[in-house]
């Protein structure tokens, strides 16, 4: 795993010292809120509905056991004993006191973590495929490049005051698990001959104007990547709109200028910038060495094969394991979606169990997925039964990854000051309702994603079923979108029709899914496949009835 260089260490400590003084000056009255607000946001500190919220970056979603234990320690010492993992591979603490934040940042710096650039109009935490370095379908681990981007973007003097926030996602696999087409820049590793480079996607994003990113360049070599990205950012920084917050993201800049004109300007900038950049190969090799695969063991896998005789274990193995690049290993996804619990939340006790398992069985590596689960990327199959037993004891063995209750949900109006409705209770109610009906397994693969406002942190546009919570005349109201896709075949879902009241959204989803069970060709045809084959009509009819459809 990448370890901080002396430079990283000094920089992080200096920022903690600066912010400590800024907090002191705010508390003493030397700084007004107007002066302090941009400073706290630069350090990931928000003020939400009930309390402050500290958003901590987990670069490319990678953690070791020591870092996870420290997050547990922070949760116990300065928060309420839990943390919330987000759709951008961050962890949020929902209850810190302003005066405690410097101590929290010090505790984070002690384990090479920080909250820098998790807010504000800067380049945010660079996210990556959560199976990076482990997936069987991968060209190469994208995290060395993600780390290079972290170093390039952190405190980049030109890009601290962009027109709007800027999110980059990267994957090394043709199967996109990082939602690269819904980011300001998406990077997909591709090969040309022997050389690995990146397809660069620009102008994707969700929010009030959802757009699928477009390929601005089909192949940028590793040597050219930083100057090319710098050229995109510089073009956006100048051409991006600062007159209207809602038109300030790069997706609007690209859309309003047209991709060809935007690309021409990027190419012009790139020609200027390219000679000034020399990729230090030795430096990149050092980073790559830090992400070298662990020493995989060669040992029997019989224990796993035997355990498959236990139906509960077999269910879990079916949903929560993914093929590893080493046939003796598996990637374990640990669901943070126990039925009725808050999607993405882990208690401090659970964090310690995760840390222990990573240390004992997982080559000391953990990942956080944008789907708000935790991953042990490298577990020898012979150890899987022991891992499952420990997870079961900790309430972490829910066998639902990829199923209905594996729901993405933003914090919504239970926490967020921007929210227009709640998300979490809708996710909880859906999960328990379909468990009680006994339909979850039969429904099979399904992505439900819930956002509590139009900003779409819950990725509702790219859910097979998306739910958007709104405030309609002072009452919570939930709109349904259908047919979204977050993968390499990314698609924005279409709005099904009028929204549903808080107490009507679960029955509406039940009608929708019963209709799916009725119309699917066979049990192998997923909801997404059936929707693609049949279009929205049978599903709209289930939601609104025949009359409503004919009137529309």
């Amino acid at each position: 795993m990448y370890r901080y260089s002396d430079f990283d260490e000094a920089f992080t400590r200096a920022r903690v010292a600066q912010f400590t003084q800024q907090v002191e000056r705010r508390l003493s009255g030397a700084l007004t809120e107007d002066e302090f607000r941009p400073l706290r946001l630069m350090n990931g500190l928000y003020l939400q509905l009930h309390a402050y919220m500290l958003r901590v970056a987990i670069p490319y979603g990678t953690l070791n056991s020591r870092q996870m234990r420290q997050l547990a320690h922070i949760a116990d010492t300065w928060d309420k004993g839990y943390g919330h993992f987000t759709t951008r591979q961050n962890i949020q603490f929902n209850w810190p006191k302003l005066g405690d934040v410097p101590a929290i940042l010090t505790a984070l710096a002690d384990v090479e973590m920080h909250a820098i650039q998790t807010s504000g109009n800067t380049i945010r935490n660079v996210t990556a495929d959560h199976f990076a370095g482990a997936a069987a379908d991968e060209i190469a681990d994208p995290r060395p490049i993600a780390e290079l981007l972290r170093q390039w973007s952190t405190d980049h003097p030109e890009f601290q005051f962009l027109p709007r926030k800027f999110k980059i996602a990267i994957t090394g696999s043709p199967n996109d698990r990082a939602v690269t087409r819904a980011h300001d820049i998406g990077l997909r590793m591709v090969r040309q001959g022997d050389a690995a480079g990146f397809e660069v996607i620009v102008g994707g994003g969700l929010g009030r104007t959802p757009m699928i990113g477009q390929i601005i360049n089909p192949f940028v070599t590793v040597d050219d990547l930083l100057p090319y990205l710098e050229a995109i950012l510089a073009t956006y920084n100048e051409a991006g709109r600062r007159d209207n917050k809602y038109k300030a993201r790069i997706k609007i800049t690209v859309f309003e200028n047209g991709l060809d004109a935007f690309r021409a300007e990027v190419d012009r900038r790139f020609a200027e910038l390219r000679p000034r950049f020399t990729l230090n190969r030795a430096f990149l090799a050092e980073i790559e060495a830090a992400f070298a695969p662990p020493a995989f063991r060669n040992a029997p896998v019989d224990a796993h094969l035997l355990a498959l005789g236990n139906p509960a274990y077999a269910d879990w193995a079916q949903t929560n394991l993914t093929e590893h690049r080493n046939a003796q290993y598996a990637i374990v996804t640990i669901s943070l979606k126990a039925h009725g619990e808050t999607p993405g939340d882990a208690s401090s006790a659970q964090m310690r169990v995760l840390a222990d398992l990573a240390q004992t069985y997982g080559h000391d590596e953990l990942r956080i997925s944008h789907e708000q689960n935790v991953i042990l990327p490298h577990v020898h199959k012979g150890d899987l039964p022991a891992v499952w037993a420990a997870l079961t004891e900790a309430g972490l063995a829910t066998a639902n990854v990829g199923l209905l209750s594996d729901i993405i949900a933003c914090p919504g109006m239970d926490y967020c000051a921007l929210a227009t409705a709640r998300s979490i209770p809708v996710a909880q109610a859906l999960a328990t309702h379909f468990r009680d009906l006994g339909l979850e397994q039969e429904i099979g693969a399904l992505k439900i994603k819930i956002s509590g406002c139009i900003n779409a942190c819950g990725h509702h546009h790219v859910g097979h079923i998306g739910i958007l919570g709104l405030d309609r005349a002072g009452v919570e109201n939930y709109q349904i979108t259908l047919g979204g896709d977050a993968t390499e075949n990314a698609a924005i879902g279409e709005r099904a029709g009028p929204g549903f009241a808080y107490d009507q959204i679960v029955p509406a989803i039940e009608r929708l899914l019963r209709a799916y069970l009725d119309v699917r060709a066979d049990a192998q045809e997923t909801f997404a496949d059936a929707f693609r084959r049949l279009g929205p009509d049978p599903f709209k009819e289930a939601l609104y009835g025949t009359a409503a459809r004919d009137a529309a």
């Binding site: 003020l47 309390a51 309420k80 302003l98 939340d345 405030d471 919570e476």
Partner: protein, 99 residues
């Protein structure tokens, strides 16, 4: 002319971030029922100006719709109601302090 909807002045405590309401005697209370229910628009603006000068105690003051209830002013909008209680997924925030 549309009738003025009664208001409270509300904000978050600078130190804890907790939701607070301005009382008639210029305190900031964590309890909505203690709030001054403002029935006059001009007075509401004066009270909001007063709140904006309290930047060393509270952050982000604004006017929120409210109505008189049996125990004191009550919120009208569900967002403001959540602010009097805390999140729905855990017994945290004000609801925990009351329990």
């Amino acid at each position: 002319m549309p009738r003025f909807t009664p208001k409270t002045v509300t904000a978050n405590d600078l130190r804890s971030g907790d939701a607070v309401w301005l009382t008639a005697d210029d305190r900031w209370s964590p309890n909505h029922h203690d709030a001054e229910l403002i029935e006059d628009e001009a007075h509401a603006q004066l009270r909001l100006l007063h709140a904006h000068r309290q930047g060393q105690i509270v952050v982000g003051a604004y006017l929120a719709d409210a109505r008189q209830g049996p125990a004191g002013p009550e919120p009208v909008h569900f967002r403001e109601e959540f602010r009097t209680r805390g999140p729905s997924n855990y017994v945290h925030g004000k609801q925990a302090e009351r329990a």
